[in-house]
């Protein structure tokens, strides 16, 4: 759609990881975002050098262990060279990993922005704060972007590879900084905090208040108001920060990698996400298609053979030497093997069709095969990374 940009488009994931400073992986849940992000970071550390950080949100336990992330908290940990040596490679650079701790990050943020120690302590002790930051879904999205900004602006890393939190809607985290700024500057909050400040309701808010009071009770409204009054003391810091985070997302040094499997729901979300990135003029670096069934399932000659193995199982079994097994057993094996091929072929065909539709986007498309076992160590990550690297 944007021809001017095409010359600048990366030709491979390698080029992308070499050129950008922030690579954000997004896509719907269960498509392998975390693993893909970790694999990309590992490859960058191995081949490109420099300090590379993978910032993950909720890694599988075994993957976290492989990265040396045994404890929660916002601590950046270096993956030891011994781990690379065990996987048979010598990295040119350093691989670091960190997990996102939402609660800790919010507390840090309050520490930073609170005007004085009394306000800080009052906020941290407020039950509504605990409740809000724990349950307010968007707070995870916001804090992920906030942490990214914090780490990037510290200047510690050459490349930061990010895994995004599982959201109901993959686009939510893009809007999180702006929404957070809106939230704290909203008219609603001003309304809510008016009575707490003046104890005199202004006229405009009255009908709302009457109803809200009947529904929620004035005590609860006052609790909310008090909490937001405290929070408002940090308003300027928050809004400035949210704006800075948005700027980083829009920066040329930032790119987005959309990860998807070829199942219909994730693909729909990936397509939606690609459109949103384009609408926001954000840089789409690559599309990674994960867990794709092998091409040989589409082979015509193999299909003919599989059909014969099902239809003519007795004849074929008869023709085979008895050293392979009893005839009846061979017959069952042939049928099972043929049926299984044809079953998987149905899915492989659907995937090929979907892939064709997605390939309309001219960006780098990397395809990752269906690995027959889970990826839970550095060796596995490197195996995966090699597939997407070129």
């Amino acid at each position: 759609v944007a021809p001017a940009k095409s010359s600048a488009r990366a030709g491979s994931i390698e080029q992308l990881l070499a050129a950008k400073e922030i690579v954000i992986h997004c896509g719907s849940g269960g498509v392998g975002k975390t693993t893909t992000a970790a694999a990309a970071a590992a490859e960058a550390a191995i081949h490109l050098g420099g300090k590379v950080l993978v910032l993950t949100v909720d890694p599988a336990k075994r993957l976290a262990n492989a990265l040396g992330l045994e404890q929660f908290g916002n601590i950046e940990t270096r993956v030891p060279n011994a781990a690379f040596a065990a996987a048979g490679v010598e990295p040119r650079g350093e691989l670091w990993a960190a997990m996102l701790d939402t609660k800790q990050s919010w507390d840090d943020l309050v520490q930073r922005h609170a005007p004085d120690a009394a306000t800080r302590d009052a906020i941290l002790a407020n039950p509504l704060y605990q409740n809000l930051m724990g349950r307010f879904v968007q707070s995870h999205d916001y804090i992920a972007m906030e942490r990214l900004y914090e780490i990037h602006s510290s200047g510690t890393y050459d490349l930061i590879v990010v895994d995004t939190p599982p959201t109901r809607n993959a686009i939510d985290f893009l809007e999180a900084p702006a929404r957070m700024a809106d939230f704290f500057s909203s008219r609603f909050l001003r309304w809510l905090t008016v009575p707490a400040r003046s104890r005199v309701l202004n006229f405009a808010s009255k009908p709302f208040y009457t109803v809200a009071d009947r529904i929620l009770g004035s005590q609860f409204l006052e609790d909310i108001a008090e909490f937001f009054l405290l929070f408002q003391s940090m308003y300027d810091g928050f809004v400035d920060r949210a704006k800075a985070v948005t700027r980083v997302l829009e920066d040329r040094r930032t790119t987005f990698v959309v990860v998807s499997t070829l199942e219909s729901a994730p693909v729909r979300e990936a397509e939606f996400f690609i459109r949103e990135l384009q609408a926001r003029k954000l840089h789409l670096g690559a599309v990674v298609l994960n867990k794709v069934l092998p091409d040989y399932l589409l082979d015509r000659k193999a299909t003919t053979s599989a059909k014969r193995m099902v239809a003519d199982a007795p004849v074929i079994a008869e023709a085979l030497d008895t050293s392979f097994g009893e005839s009846a057993q061979i017959e069952r094996v042939l049928r099972e093997v043929g049926e299984s091929f044809l079953n998987f072929q149905v899915v492989a065909k659907r995937e090929a069709e979907t892939k064709g539709e997605l390939a309309g986007a001219p960006e780098v498309v990397a395809t990752v095969p269906y690995f027959d076992s889970d990826i839970y160590d550095l060796e596995g990550l490197i195996r995966l990374g090699d597939k997407i690297w070129r």
Partner: protein
């Protein structure tokens, strides 16, 4: 223990990508085909439940989409309006204006309000006995506890007012295992199993809702019976391949590779399945739905899921 479809309200949850909506649609279809007046509702207004029944997009107002089968999608603002009108008897004039405009902020600022409007709508349909069974395509594992625990949370946070008064009957229905249950959909893969085990524990400790069943989706069938794997291995040797190609009259390498992939996938999944079984409290109701190798989701796939769930449930 009340059988799954004898309950009146089922919340179907699961990690993204495991087939939560497929199973919710299958359960609803199965119930409707066995004479139960069934409502299936999705909580995500951007969802695609209607695709699973090949019908136009659903809306807040339930619509009949088949014999005994009704579908709707949650819309919290609509739910609020209905709630104010039917339950709190708030006059129309107060419902428009600032309240509507600032609703989103209220819902965000007061934890649990959005959730209680979502869960409350379905609970209300149960209380009014408009349907024999309400199947909810609920939030994914990460967010479902917030939904199910919302009435309790509201009761603790909001000390007075009409919303609080309404939580009593909600909690009664939610906590009654003869009426309400959670169904967790899992897939035999690492993260879905981890999340299922974690969620099982959280449902037990943080909500008063009964875990009615765990449905494991996409279980691969065992390819080989006793002694057959050895036959397969012999056929995969160079001599075996040559003999087989001569007998078949065409190349078989890809066919054998595909079978090997199926065997390894099944073995990996069986390992995760075993981990799931061991990690669950004894007596947990586990049901299995096989990998269906269908084209897209749609009425065909939904019917296949309903049929295999029917077999599991003894219909």
């Amino acid at each position: 223990v009340t059988p799954l479809l004898e309950r009146r309200l089922l919340f179907v949850t699961g990690k993204g990508g495991v087939g939560k909506t497929t199973i919710a649609a299958g359960l609803a279809l199965l119930a409707s085909q066995h004479g139960k007046r069934t409502l299936v509702g999705e909580v995500d207004s951007k969802g695609n439940l209607s695709d699973y029944f090949e019908v136009p997009p659903t809306s807040f107002e339930p619509r009949e989409i088949g014999p005994n089968l009704f579908a709707m999608s949650m819309h919290t603002e609509e739910s609020l309006k209905e709630y104010l009108r039917l339950q709190l008897k708030v006059p129309l004039v107060a419902r428009i204006g600032p309240l509507a405009r600032t609703f989103d902020f209220v819902a965000n600022a007061a934890p649990g309000v959005k959730e209680v409007l979502t869960v409350g709508k379905f609970l209300w349909e149960v209380r009014e006995r408009h349907y024999d069974l309400v199947v909810v395509d609920a939030a994914a594992t990460g967010h479902v506890v917030a939904q199910l625990a919302a009435p309790q949370g509201i009761q603790e946070l909001v000390k007075v007012g009409l919303v609080r008064d309404q939580t009593g009957w909600m909690l009664d229905i939610l906590g009654d295992e003869a009426q309400t249950g959670v169904v967790i959909v899992a897939a035999p893969e690492e993260m879905p199993v981890n999340e299922t085990l974690e969620l099982t524990e959280r449902i037990r400790t943080e909500t008063n809702v009964d875990l009615a069943a765990i449905i494991v989706n996409r279980v691969l069938p065992e390819l080989f019976g006793r002694g057959e794997e050895e036959v397969f291995e012999r056929l995969r040797t160079p001599d075996g391949v040559a003999a087989l190609e001569a007998a078949v009259g065409g190349p078989v390498g890809a066919v054998l590779d595909a079978a090997e992939l199926a065997v390894t996938l099944r073995r990996t999944r069986a390992g995760h399945l075993a981990r799931l079984r061991e990690g669950l409290p004894p007596g947990t109701n586990l049901l299995y739905v096989p990998e269906l190798f269908t084209r897209h989701h749609g009425m065909r796939a939904t019917q296949l899921v309903a049929t295999s769930l029917g077999e599991e449930l003894g219909y």
